[in-house]
Amino acid sequence: MKLPVSLSVGFGSALGGLSRFYADTFLLSIASDNVYTSLFLINVFGSFLIGFFLIRSQGASDEGAKLNWYFWGVGFCGGFTTFASFVLLLVNGLMNASAMEAGIYATFSVLGGLLALVTGLIIGQKLLLKS
């Protein structure tokens, strides 16, 4: 694996992880400390962004555009969104609430993520056609 690619992913992920922390802090402050709402919004927004960045980088042949994808798509969006906390919240939901509520949360997260991704692809495509 080429070093610039790995470094792009690493630095993108570092920026994504820090952004997640600040987004989480902000979202918790406006969502009365609801960790479920906060993580849902973070994961959905990150899925929107990865769709957007994927379209922007598709068909790009030059090295710079490829590194852009590794930084923003694989690195930033990957680091911004998280799966481990998602699993932790599902386990907590199963233990403290009910299987039904955990299932509903998981379903909404997954469908929200897919819908946001498609929205990102469409908006990215529209902007690409304009430019």
């Binding site: 992913v9 993108g12 990865i50 386990v91 199963l94």
Partner: protein
């Protein structure tokens, strides 16, 4: 200082995710990539380990920042999970899409729970 811990953790978390999933994706099953699935489950298992064995303790903010928010947060991903699911749906591989969509959280939870079980159920 916690900002630096989050940056370092996320850097190495994202790097591990990339290297490990790229390596795992060499093993394709009829176009089904297992890289992100395995890395997400591994990250969930590791979260179980650091929480139940007291490696990350609430209040120890630097450890939370480095390991939980940074490394494991950066190592696991939801955006690629959505992207790869969508990709499978688009290729009409609905059975794989369902396995991937349901399998990721289910295997992640089983792994997380497995760790808690081994440690006597303590969190």
């Amino acid at each position: 200082m916690f900002i630096v811990y989050i940056l370092i953790g996320s850097f190495f978390g994202g790097l591990s995710r990339f290297l490990l999933s790229t390596w795992l994706n060499r093993f394709q099953f009829d176009g089904f990539s297992i890289g992100t699935l395995v890395v997400n489950c591994l990250g969930s298992i590791l979260l179980g380990v650091v929480l139940s064995y007291g490696i990350v303790i609430e209040g120890h903010f630097n450890r939370e920042a480095l390991i939980e928010i940074g490394f494991l947060g950066g190592m696991t991903t939801f955006s690629t999970y959505a992207l790869e699911s969508y990709d499978l749906i688009q290729k009409n591989k609905f059975a794989y899409a369902v396995v991937y969509l349901l399998g990721s959280p289910i295997f992640g939870m089983i792994g997380f729970w497995g760790v808690l079980f081994l440690n006597g159920g303590a969190l």
